[in-house]
């Protein structure tokens, strides 16, 4: 009888402790989330809410893992090819000599965080598309990255004004875990589409779901439709 009472007491205490921690954690999170509340009240120029549903604002990019690339700009090469008239391959120095833009963009991770208002510097993918002469058959863009990683996007979204091959955020180079030296940026899709350690941009006619898209994530990844999973 004593054992049973002890066991019951233990379970009750453990349950009460768990509940207390959960409530406390939730309160801390709610109280500390002014940035999220403020972002929810804002609208984008296209009329959509600035913060997609289910997202929470954080102040810095979170490293989300991945099989890292070389990271050394000396070894960087980007191959732009596929359904193009003049395939192109260039190195880091040549990238910096191309027409540069700096775009302010929010990015949204499929795991639920959003970073607002980053200043991303780089070259527009649309400019690269013009440079290589993308043919009319191309419908999708496949971002290729270190160790065979790929991410697919419709060409319309990959060549939007704010879609870049980027090498600097807020005036700083990317740390290796964030894709140094160069990563893709397609800010209006979930952030996994913005491939880190970029090695290639391939224009194709038929869609080719990439690494995460073939592992349960949504093929398109629109944050405003919460297209998280396939």
């Amino acid at each position: 009888m004593q054992n049973i009472r002890s066991r019951r007491e233990f379970i009750k205490t453990a349950a009460a402790g768990t509940l207390l921690m959960a409530v406390g954690g939730a309160l801390v999170r709610i109280a500390a989330d002014d940035l999220t509340r403020a972002a929810r009240a804002e609208k984008r120029a296209d009329g959509r809410q600035r913060l997609p549903p289910g997202q929470r604002v954080i102040e810095y990019l979170k490293p989300m893992g991945g099989d890292e690339g070389d990271g050394d700009p000396r070894n960087f090469r980007l191959h732009v090819y596929g359904l193009v008239k003049k395939p192109l391959e260039f190195d880091y120095k040549e990238l910096l000599k191309m027409p540069q833009v700096t775009k302010e963009a929010d990015v949204h991770c499929v795991t639920g965080w959003t970073m607002l208002g980053g200043e991303w510097k780089g070259v527009q993918i649309a400019a690269l598309a013009d440079l290589v002469g993308v043919t009319g058959e191309a419908r999708y863009v496949i971002f290729e990255a270190a160790n065979g990683f790929t991410a697919n996007t419709p060409i319309r979204e990959a060549t939007m004004d704010n879609a870049l091959v980027t090498y600097r955020l807020n005036g700083k180079p990317f740390a290796r875990e964030h894709g140094a030296p160069v990563r893709g940026l397609v800010p209006d899709l979930y952030f996994w589409k913005s491939a880190k350690w970029l090695t290639g941009i391939r224009f194709v006619a038929r869609d080719e779901p990439g690494y995460w898209e073939t592992r349960g994530y949504n093929n398109h990844g629109d944050p405003w439709k919460e297209e998280r999973y396939g």
Partner: protein, 204 residues
């Protein structure tokens, strides 16, 4: 008539031996599981550091050695192992992984070191290495299945699986089921995506 006592004793013995073997695996998978589960809140693989400082911009016509000297002196990082210049950037590399990059008047010093144990545990958990670890992980998963199922029967207790056993087993099944129903499950956010054609997945 099956000898139930001997059967339970056999279950217990194998359960105990599997349990011993599972300790190491479970530490790796459970600790890295906790670490990876909160990946949006921290970097489970590396300690990172970053600091920025302002310097007088390095003149374009400064030699590589002079540019490196100015930046390293400002950053206080000593003689670099590698110097690379591109456009307005001066990058200094160090063998310990530290990177110093000067862009105009801003210098960023980025460093990181792997977390002891978790870096390797996460690598195993993600099965990044592939190859033989796939089979090792399969064996561990089968052992876990055995531990779970044999645990139901190896000690009869006063009421067997009735009452408390039934309640706890039901709770363990109900929690994920209720969560799937409550959240809408994997179909909840399908949206308007296209159905992807099946292709051979490349290794990450």
């Amino acid at each position: 008539m099956v000898d139930v006592k001997r059967w339970r004793a056999w279950l217990r013995a194998v359960h105990r031996d599997c349990g011993y073997i599972a300790v190491g695996f479970t530490l790796i998978y459970a600790l890295s599981g906790l670490a990876i589960n909160h990946i949006k809140d921290w970097d489970p693989n590396f300690h990172e550091s970053e600091r920025t400082l302002t310097i007088a911009p390095v003149p374009d016509d400064a030699s590589d050695a002079e540019a490196a000297r100015r930046v390293a002196e400002a950053a206080g990082t000593g003689t670099p192992d590698d110097v690379y210049r591109a456009g307005d950037e001066v990058r200094l590399g160090y063998n310990d992984g530290t990177q110093v990059t000067a862009v105009g008047d801003q210098v960023t010093v980025q460093g990181r070191s792997p977390r002891f144990f978790l870096r390797v545990a996460n690598w195993l958990h993600y099965n990044r290495g592939k190859k033989a670890w796939t089979y090792v992980a399969d064996v561990y998963a089968v052992m876990l299945l055995y531990l779970a199922i044999s645990g139901l029967f190896m000690i009869k207790g006063k009421l067997g699986l009735r009452w408390r056993g039934a309640v706890l087993v039901s709770a363990g099944i109900a929690v994920p089921l209720v969560y799937v129903l409550w959240s809408g499950g994997p179909e909840a956010h399908r949206g308007e995506s296209r159905d992807p054609p099946k292709i051979e997945a490349k290794q990450n």
